[in-house]
């Protein structure tokens, strides 16, 4: 018998016993929902990893040292690296919450921002912003200009989960909200009693487009000022001068060479006990992915359990169906059905149940992704997750229907025909 005929028979039977069919594919649906959810989240993580790696390159290292570094040291280091290496010093982050530092715009106090000192080369890595105005240049660095860049979240969508109702009631306006309504380009802001000019706005892309969010979830608006200016204003507040050195070399092996030469330079400057904390960006990406995979493994395990339960349900219902249709099997055998025809008939029927389970499960899984997953704006649904879910459901029902269907195929026609 041909497949379309088998599908027609199977579908007629499933439709004729809707409630029984629904109950038997329900467990499969739960399993598929879990798989769908897990695979969707996992595929998203992989995609982000790819895009993060593409954005920053695999040859990026971030090194943290406890010492402030000056421009001479910058030039020394730049000289040690190959010509195409991008080197950038970044200060640590100075948050405006809870510090005595205040930010004012025309006497209005703004809060909820961070201040970071950077160099023009900062732009070489993970730069996803749309720049309005100009960037910090070397002249700003050399002359410690009072200029600032501000991140603006104009494209953002609501990133909150459904039940996330935490509200931040602060006595002062948050910079994040403020920049949505005020165009600050070329305007003066007062930071730590010094007047800065906003030379550029960094428009943050919507989360959907921003691979960087996987690495550093950036929700606090940041004011970027020249590296040297930051040290003048804030280094003493924190009591220490941490500097992050970012080197981008192009690939992993050159990154390792650069790490060695960086360590030896820092030791030559700060003594043999200097132990810079070097982080290879690619390792960091891999580590994040590993963490994600580990947490999803537990989900996957639940999914497998549900699929086994679903498979047993399918097996049970197939056995019951075969018992109640023994006579039909006898008639079909008398009319010319072979053992294979009977086997396939019940296997196809069970696989159709599995398919129903897959469809119901994917709808459930889709709802789960919409309402349970973090960063829902980043979720997109890949065709391969759908294909995988369907294949898993079909495979499970195939495996579990095989034994009862084989029992049915084995029935002797003359005995099956006598069955009432």
């Amino acid at each position: 018998m041909r497949l379309p005929d088998l599908v027609t028979i199977g579908w007629t039977e499933i439709w004729a016993h809707k409630m029984r069919s629904f109950l038997s594919f329900f467990a499969i649906a739960i399993g598929i929902a879990t798989f769908f959810y897990t695979l969707s989240v996992l595929s998203q993580r992989y995609r982000q990893l790819d895009r993060s790696a593409a954005l920053s390159g695999t040859g990026r290292i971030d090194t943290l040292t406890q010492h402030p570094l000056n421009l001479k040291q910058y030039n020394d280091l730049q000289f040690r690296f190959p010509a195409n290496t991008s080197l950038s010093f970044i200060t640590n982050i100075h948050y405006l919450y809870g510090s005595w530092t205040r930010l004012y715009y025309h006497n209005q106090e703004l809060a909820g921002a961070a201040v970071v000192g950077i160099m023009p080369t900062w732009k070489d890595s993970s730069f996803v912003y749309k720049l309005e105005g100009r960037f910090i240049n070397w002249k700003d660095i050399e002359n410690k200009h009072r200029v600032a860049l501000i991140t603006v979240f104009t494209n953002e969508k609501n990133t909150r989960n459904l039940w996330d109702h935490t509200t931040d009631e602060r006595p002062v306006t948050k910079l994040r909200d403020f920049t949505n309504h005020h165009h600050l380009l070329n305007q003066p802001i007062v930071l730590n009693n010094e007047t800065f000019t906003v030379i550029g706005l960094l428009h943050v892309p919507s989360q959907l487009d921003d691979a960087r969010f996987y690495m550093d979830k950036e929700e606090t608006p940041t004011i970027y000022i020249p590296y040297t200016t930051w040290y003048d204003l804030f280094a003493s507040d924190d009591g220490r001068g941490e500097t992050s050195i970012r080197v981008i070399t192009g690939n992993e092996s050159s990154a390792r060479t650069a790490a060695k030469s960086l360590t030896s330079y820092l030791r030559s400057q700060f003594g043999p006990n200097e132990k810079p904390d070097i982080e290879f960006f690619y390792n960091k990406l891999q580590k994040r992915l590993k963490e994600a995979r580990k947490s999803l493994n537990n989900m996957l395990f639940m999914g497998i359990i549900a699929m086994i339960a679903g498979g047993i349900g399918i097996m049970n219902v197939t056995m019951a169906v075969i018992f109640s249709r023994t006579r039909e099997i006898g008639i079909r055998r008398a009319l010319g059905a072979s053992r294979k025809d009977i086997l396939f008939q019940f296997v196809v029927e069970a696989m159709l149940l599995g398919l129903c389970g897959a469809v119901a499960g994917m709808i459930l899984g889709y709802l789960a992704v919409l309402h349970l997953a973090e960063n829902i704006n980043q979720m997109t649904f890949s065709w391969w997750v759908i294909v995988c879910s369907v294949v898993i459901a079909l495979f499970t029902s195939f495996i579990f229907a095989l034994y009862p269907a084989w029992q049915a195929a084995k029935l002797r026609p003359v005995e099956a025909l006598k069955h009432e």
Partner: protein, 220 residues
Amino acid sequence: MVIAQCKNLIKIYNGTQDFRALDEVSLSIKQGEFISVMGPSGCGKSTLLNILGLLDEPSGGEYLLNTHPTSQLSDAGRTELRRHHIGFIFQSFNLMPRLSVLENIALPMRYTDMPRAEILPRARELAKRVGLENKLNSTPLQLSGGQCQRTACARALANRPSFILADEPTGNLDSRASADILRLLQELNQNGMTIIMVTHDSKIAAGTHRTIHMKDGKII
């Protein structure tokens, strides 16, 4: 031409006490014959029919179908022969309740490699032949007993079998419908179809060429 031949067929049902349902039955069926088999319950009529239909295997003896011995055949081989050479008509019709008349008639063809496009036209033609061209889309539940049995007759003809085995085809029908089905079978026989029919009704048996009487597993 002999199309089916039984040589000393024996069928023993094993149980607490072995029961000999067929006891050295020999029988030749020629092409174009219309044979009725009569006898009391338990005399082995149905067992003989099951063996002739390759639904059951004899415990001894040989059954030749179109001169081919069948005792050594695998299940697949028996199925293949059954599919192409034998049509069945049952007492209780044995139609598929969820399928229409047309689909019921088409069912045996679905198990062959006949091109799909030819199946329904042939089923329609067969339905016309048994006078059901107006009931094609009815399901068995909407038909009378006689109409059900007509459907079963058309279905038995689907794969152009060598012969038709009918197990008490009028057993569930009133006398008018019985006469009707007998007429249909006679008509099929006149067109060349070989028919072997088990019946309890001597009036029905009288309408056939030859009547075989059985008792205690033997032909008398």
